[in-house]
């Protein structure tokens, strides 16, 4: 299923999208698959899977460590695509890949997109590919008519760039809650709502908020003015701290179920 139709459906029913992130292959790919299945069971609407990278400069320490564990466990792109394919045969929620640009570039831009499509990934988030550098990949997607969304990121520092960043985009807009890298924080700018308002005035696309969201209280606060929330580091940390995979699955899916109640 495409990302956009998930949002359309949710919005019609007055619900908000719950978008969990975990790093593929942390601690190993088979466990990632089980956790994703459990998250979907517990109410995830879209799943964001991180492709582990040696130098994830948009990520804080929690996701950096997860990437390192995943790489040490032998995770590579081929295996991540296999995982996506396998998940797609079992679940119906869209899978979005979070991938840094260099692995995509080395794979070959068009080949990477084709592989995403054939494996069944619905979208891509490339955190180090800003507007200025994305023309080549978007023109490949358009020219090939590939059914995949390149999810644009908008930051609190984007200001007058917002219009251009969301122009021609598809799927949803990933709104970065605060300056900084990924990782749970307690304090958010009081201007969050007006920031989301700026995005809304530039696009019809649904807006999901991510970066730093790690508890039910924050989700309660922000859900009023966004279409979805993205949570990553909090889940990755649960996986890191769990003594065994059963504990990781139970903790993560328990938390997702709790969030589901809040998000309708």
């Amino acid at each position: 299923m495409r990302v956009r139709s998930v949002f359309t459906n949710l919005i019609q029913h007055g619900r908000k999208a719950l978008i969990p992130y975990i790093t593929a292959g942390d601690p190993e790919l088979a466990v990632t698959e089980e956790i994703v299945m459990a998250m979907v069971q517990a109410g995830a609407d879209i799943v964001e899977l991180g492709v582990p990278y040696s130098d994830p400069l948009a990520d804080g320490v929690v996701i950096q460590r997860a990437a390192q564990r995943a790489l040490e466990a032998g995770t590579n792109l081929h295996k991540v695509f296999e995982l996506v394919e396998s998940l797609n045969s079992k679940i119906s929620v869209p899978i979005v890949l979070l991938v840094y640009f260099n692995p995509v570039y080395q794979y070959g831009l068009e080949k990477f997109i084709q592989k995403c499509v054939s494996a069944g990934a619905a979208g891509m988030i490339i955190p180090d590919l800003p507007l200025e550098e994305r023309a080549e990949i978007t023109s490949i997607i358009e020219a090939g008519g590939y059914p995949i969304d390149l999810i644009p990121l908008v930051a609190p520092t984007s200001r007058e760039r917002i219009g251009k960043v969301v122009e021609g985009a598809s799927g949803f807009v990933y709104a970065i809650s605060s300056k900084g890298v990924t990782g749970v924080r307690k304090q958010f700018s009081g201007e969050l709502e007006s920031f989301i308002g700026q995005i809304r005035s530039a696009t019809e696309l649904p807006v999901a908020l991510g970066f730093g969201i790690g508890d039910v209280e924050t989700v309660e606060k922000v859900k009023e003015f966004v279409d979805g929330v993205i949570l990553g580091s909090v889940l990755v940390q649960m996986i890191e701290e769990a003594a065994a995979k059963e504990e990781a699955i139970a903790k993560v899916s328990g938390f997702i179920a709790e969030l589901r109640k809040v998000l309708g």
Binding site: Y107, P130, T157, G180
Partner: protein
């Protein structure tokens, strides 16, 4: 792979591969820097500090003993080691910190490998009364203990980086993460001709003083332009600074010297151009050492300042177009050159610069006596004496 031609590129290299959060900061930096380019007052202040504070111009010294020992062309040493703080790094730091002040930034951050750029940044921040934080890999903190102490003495806070390979690459990642978080009040002083546009061009412009001086000095000393320019390349700022004013002088051969570590075929080296392939690191498209999946590979060099898996995008371009050649020198060869220059000229070079000297050892005997070779002595070796001692005691390069 297609070549996207646009601003901020050197052919296919360069660009701005950074998180959206930084894009406005880069645009603002570029705008302010362009204003400075036209501003005589800015440059006279820059030259004032280079002259009065750092002691420029640095000499272009005819190395008579080394020339005799190698038995070929005439070798001139560009004495960047005589700068305040002991390396060329300060040229760039003075420029960037003056720019930061103009932009009203109150907090300075920087990455450092060997510690030379960190020391230079801490020094200028002390002098200009700015808050300064330095990111340095844990491994480098260990290798360059003395420089850590220097930076702290100068009032900077040194953050040891424990992620990844714990060297310059990871220190740079961490500095970028800091910048993303504190972008409003913080200026990131990048230490080499690397990073997203406009850094590679800006750092080059602040380092071209090296080549500008060499041009004037060699014309005064020898009455003509040199035949060869030789400089070590990690990120490549001392080399770019030396080369740039000569790029259009096509008879001047340019040689960049990378670190071959324990050997180009051992997998333990930092010879980015010799063994790397195009990819993206630290916001730029350039040559880098990576595996087939695009994961950045660990690198090795006896010299912490060359221990970097990428290279400045303008070097990538000079290589691709064939305008400059890039050679690689092993740890062992660099150590030999370190000893040779110390004994013949009474000048202890930085291990980084010793790579350039080692290449001259190979090059000079193949040149005729009337040819002119300029080698950039980018830094002095005081910082390396202890680790060289340890290495020699241990029976070879670590």
């Amino acid at each position: 792979m297609s070549t996207v031609v646009k601003a901020g590129r050197f052919g296919m290299f360069g660009g701005q591969y950074v998180p959206e959060t930084l894009m406005n900061a880069l645009t603002e930096l570029e705008r302010e820097y362009k204003k400075c380019l036209e501003d005589q007052e800015f440059w006279s202040e820059y030259h004032y500090y280079l002259r009065e504070y750092s002691g420029r111009p640095t000499p272009l010294y005819f190395a008579a003993n080394l020339t005799k020992a190698l038995g070929g062309g005439r070798i001139y040493l560009k004495r960047e080691d005589l700068n305040h703080t002991g390396a060329h790094k300060i040229n760039n730091v003075i420029g960037q910190v003056l720019l930061a002040k103009r932009m009203g930034k109150t907090r300075i951050i920087a990455e450092t490998g060997a510690g030379q750029h960190g020391v230079a940044t801490a020094t200028i921040c002390a002098m200009m009364n700015l808050t300064c934080e330095i990111y340095m890999g844990e491994e480098d903190v260990r290798r360059q203990e003395l420089n850590v102490f220097r930076m702290e003495l100068l009032g900077a806070k040194v953050n040891a980086v424990s992620s990844g390979t714990r060297t310059l690459k990871d220190a740079t990642n961490e500095a970028i993460r800091d910048w993303v978080t504190n972008v409003d009040d913080t200026f990131y002083v990048i230490g080499s001709v690397v990073g997203p546009h406009p850094y590679p061009s800006m750092v080059r412009d602040f380092q071209r003083i090296i080549g500008d001086e060499v041009k004037e000095q060699i014309l005064a000393l020898a009455g003509r332009l040199p035949d060869y320019l030789v400089a070590c390349v990690g990120g490549g700022s001392n080399a770019m600074g030396l080369f740039y004013p000569f790029v259009d002088d096509h008879d001047v051969k340019l040689w960049g010297v990378e670190a071959a570590g324990q050997g180009l075929d051992t997998g333990k080296h930092a010879a980015t151009i010799s063994r790397g392939s195009p990819g993206v690191i630290h916001g730029m498209m350039t040559y880098l050492l990576q595996d087939s999946e695009g994961q950045i590979l660990p690198v090795h060099s006896i010299s912490a300042g060359l221990d970097y898996p990428g290279v400045g995008p303008e070097h990538a371009y000079l290589h691709q177009t064939g305008r400059a050649g890039y050679a690689a020198i092993t740890d062992q060869e660099a150590l030999e050159a370190f000893k040779l220059l110390s004994k013949t000229e009474g000048i202890i070079p930085a291990l980084e610069s010793a790579h350039a000297v080692a290449y001259v050892q190979k090059l000079a005997p193949r040149t005729s006596r009337d040819e002119l070779i300029v080698v950039n002595l980018s830094g002095r070796g005081d910082k390396d004496v202890y680790s060289v001692l340890e290495t020699l005691k241990g029976g070879g390069p670590a």
